[in-house]
């Protein structure tokens, strides 16, 4: 059983990556912060279902990925305006502009695939299981997405 103290210790090891992952997904500091808060709350309430501490990282990433997905879905209708809005704005606390742009050219699933690869350290099979995608699809989409992104990333 993981108690509050253990939870805090586990959280400490991942929260920066969680936030950066959420930032890549949500493209907005406030939205990213909300997503992480929500995921943490949900994880905390369900911590009794996690039997092994070692699995904490992947478990909470999975929760966060789903929170981000749902939030993005609910704002899908205004996505185009949001993209334009975000693309033109620069946020002092947000992602570096080139990284922001590189994520914005991807569709949502590709953003998830890249975010989970970068911050979660997952391979294509694990991501396939999480997102209910064919691992081949994950691999080919990751390859293509990275190629697209590479030209927008500065050294």
């Amino acid at each position: 059983m993981i108690d509050a103290i253990a939870f805090k210790e586990l959280y400490k090891t991942v929260y920066q990556d969680l936030y950066r992952f959420a930032l890549c997904m949500m493209h907005h500091p406030q939205d990213a912060e909300d997503a992480v808060s929500e995921a943490v709350l949900s994880a905390y309430e369900n911590i009794h279902k996690l039997r092994k501490e070692e699995a904490f990282r992947s478990w909470i990433f999975q929760i966060l990925a789903n929170v981000c997905r749902r939030k993005l879905k609910s704002r899908e209708r205004t996505e185009t305006e949001l993209k334009e809005d975000h693309a033109s704005a620069t946020y002092c606390d947000g992602l570096r502009t080139d990284v922001e742009r590189a994520f914005l050219i991807l569709d949502e699933d590709d953003q998830l695939i890249i975010g989970l690869s970068v911050y979660g350290g997952y391979n294509s099979k694990e991501i396939g299981k999480m997102l209910k995608l064919n691992p081949n699809t994950v691999r080919s989409r990751r390859k293509r997405a990275l190629e697209k992104m590479s030209w927008l990333l500065k050294e």
Binding site: T13, D34, L41, R70, K125
Partner: protein, 669 residues
């Protein structure tokens, strides 16, 4: 994953390392928030805003109520950077791996299994090693996944965007000619998301569940009928041949056989055939299922060859064969049809079956190769499966790292048979980097020298019919990597890139002594090469300046009349565009020298489709450059028929008159 991909991932990670994390998410703050949440919940009050808004908290509550228990990723989860404790235990686990039991297949011969127990041993050792690597217990590590309806519906099972078939030729009277899918090997057809027979356009809609059939005989396009697939069937692509349409994709499927053994375990590859004799009423005439996710397929001489990747995820039970032996048509593959891995462990098969177009109700033949993330190149007579060992989850434990394992199967009229196995150093950029010619196999690879550093070079290999290396050139273009390659007869061309684009030409006329003939250095690089005539090679890629800064998508024409003195005779840069699907999927490109037509999609500030022409005097001319409407992830295709050009993306089709490229019609499906 290639080293190049890893580099970009690292770059992204580094770029965000300094991004400040809001104070409210710091561990102390979060714990305070959680405590408050606990106490307010106990007292039944609505919590105060804390770090996130009240409406969000309420939504959070609703979601928590919708928590669903999902089977864990279990043993497959990589515990990267989790804690130093687990890292220690995984080191301990992996140290014993070298001595793991299980017969080591000799890497020179292609061996089949003698019984299922043997197959089981390989699969089980993989499971054991994973368990020791990640120190989580095996099948159910108790991971509860958070899921909700939205997340479920957002999931897709579409395959890598791929394209069409080719076998059908396109030489009718000039004005009724139509285009066919761009293929890897001339004469070997490939599936796609759009096909035409000149009279009708067939297109897979963005939902992957419907194929629309559109009459294009007049200027006004008209939907005549369509194929609606089973709601559990996600099509990836399809073929069109001789009034039949063959749909390939993934089917959610769990069957139970007479011994109450579970077949297919959730998902399989499906080949479903439709008769189009009555175009208004396509009729399903046969279905073949096989284990695994759909990977790719080919069509030749009236037979479909269908490849799938079968991952053995679930707990395997020695006597429950369907829990680990692949199936085709609900039948277990015979032991003698299963080829053993080159490593001592495996968790995956590449399954291939053949289906006759005249008898699409059953498979004609089938094989399975135990390999990890194998990819496929098909020549006129042989299937090559290539697998880069470094991408293996067990890479650290492989005796031989950083090499590509090759398996060769011959195919003829539906009959499949394993013939050889071999290996080369390095990895292949894509299937254009491997090419069979005159009983030899030529390969261009990029070799990483020190793991972790970016030190790399490139190699050329020539293998004989038994996949033994007979000729090679190594240590080419240090610190660069192959971006594209293409072979024509005795000559091969490949592009490497770091800052400039050396286009190498290689003479293979003496297979045992391949020779570099020339090296053309120009800024930028080509991602896709296509022969435009015997003397011209077209490159589609990126223009960059001397600092590697991108200027846009570039097309180049190379004069190869003297392979030892290749010249870039013309180039054209499309500013503001930094990507084309053609870089990654050759079927997105339409290159037709007879029609003098080079078409491909562009991505940048907008999605567009461009058509260029080329001639010696005028060089490249843009014939058309139009915005693509429609937003299908599946990709954009351009096809022509009856002197009209169609740009298709998902549910949107736009028709242009060839010549002046005036738009004449559009259709929303």
């Amino acid at each position: 994953m290639t080293d190049h991909e890893k580099e970009i991932l690292d770059k992204i990670k580094q770029s965000t390392e300094k991004t400040p994390v809001p104070e409210s998410l710091a561990p102390d703050q979060i714990m305070k928030m959680l405590e408050e949440h606990n106490s307010t919940q106990a007292s039944g009050h609505i919590p105060k805003k804390h770090g996130f808004s009240r409406s969000q908290w309420m939504r959070g509550g609703l979601i928590a109520a919708a928590l669903v228990l999902v089977v864990g990723i279990g043993a497959h989860i990589r515990q990267q950077n989790l804690s130093s404790d687990s890292a220690t235990s995984s080191t301990k686990g992996s140290s014993s791996i070298g001595t793991s039991s299980g017969k080591l297949a000799s890497s020179d011969t292609l061996e089949t299994a003698t019984d299922y127990d043997e197959v089981y041993t390989y699969l089980q050792s993989y499971q054991d090693e994973l368990d020791s690597l990640y120190a989580t217990d095996s099948t159910d590590s108790g991971i509860v996944m958070y899921s909700n309806e939205t997340a479920g519906s957002g999931a897709r099972t579409d395959s890598s965007s791929s394209s069409s078939d080719s076998a059908t030729a396109s030489t009718h009277a000039v004005d009724t000619s139509f285009s066919d899918t761009n293929v890897r090997t001339e004469g070997v057809g490939e599936a796609d998301i759009v096909k035409t027979d000149g009279n009708y356009l067939y297109t897979l809609k963005a939902n992957s569940k419907e194929i629309s059939i559109v009459d294009i005989r007049s200027d006004q396009m008209k939907v005549v009928s369509g194929i609606s697939l089973n709601e559990n069937f996600q099509a990836s692509e399809f073929y069109l041949s001789d009034q039949k349409l063959f749909v390939l994709g993934n089917m959610q499927n769990t069957k139970v056989d007479s011994d109450s053994k579970t077949l297919y375990r959730g998902s399989c590859t499906r080949i479903q055939t439709y008769d189009l004799t009555d175009i208004n009423n396509p009729k399903s005439i046969g279905t073949v299922d096989q284990s695994g996710y759909y990977l790719t397929s080919r069509f030749k001489d009236g037979y479909l060859y269908v490849f799938s990747d079968y991952y053995v995820y679930d707990t395997i039970t020695k006597k429950d064969y369907p829990s680990y032996v692949p199936l085709v048509d609900d039948n277990l593959l015979k032991q003698s049809d299963i080829y053993l891995p080159t490593n001592h462990a495996a968790d995956q098969y590449l399954v291939v079956s053949s289906v006759s177009a005249d008898d699409p109700e059953k498979a004609a033949d089938q094989k399975a190769i135990m390999s990890e993330n194998g990819e496929v190149y098909v020549s006129e007579n042989n299937i090559y499966i290539y697998e880069y060992t470094n991408s293996s989850i067990l890479a650290d434990n492989l005796a031989a790292k950083n090499q590509t394992i090759l398996r060769k199967l011959s195919y003829n009229k539906g009959k499949l048979s394993g013939s050889a196995q071999g290996k080369v150093k390095g990895y292949l950029n894509d299937s254009f980097s491997i090419d069979e010619y005159d009983n030899t196999l030529r390969l261009v690879t990029t070799v990483t020298h020190n793991v972790g550093s970016s030190s790399q070079s490139n190699s050329v290999y020539v293998l004989d019919a038994d996949l033994k290396t007979i000729g090679k050139i190594e240590d080419l273009a240090k610190d660069e990597q192959v971006y594209s390659a293409r072979f024509l007869g005795d000559t091969g061309y490949f592009v490497t890139y770091e800052q400039t684009d050396p286009l190498f030409s290689v003479d293979f006329s003496d297979p045992e002594n391949p020779k570099i003939l020339g090296k053309l250095k120009i800024p930028g690089f080509s991602e896709y090469l296509h022969f435009y005539s015997d003397n011209l090679l077209l490159g589609i890629g990126m223009d960059t300046d001397e600092n590697g800064v991108t200027n846009g998508v570039k097309v180049s024409m190379f004069d190869i009349s003297d392979p030892s003195d290749v010249k870039e005779v013309s180039k054209y840069t499309l500013d503001q565009y930094y990507y084309s699907d053609a870089f990654y999927d050759y079927r997105a490109a339409l290159v037709d020298p007879e029609k003098n037509l080079i078409g491909f999609p562009l991505s940048g500030s907008a999605d567009q489709y461009v058509i260029l022409s080329y001639d010696k005097d005028q060089c490249f001319q843009v014939q058309m450059q139009e915005e693509v409407n429609g937003n299908s992830y599946l990709g954009t295709r351009g096809v022509y028929a009856n002197e009209k050009f169609y740009v298709i993306n998902g549910n949107a089709i736009e028709a242009y008159r060839m010549g002046d490229y005036v738009k004449i019609d559009d259709l929303l499906l």
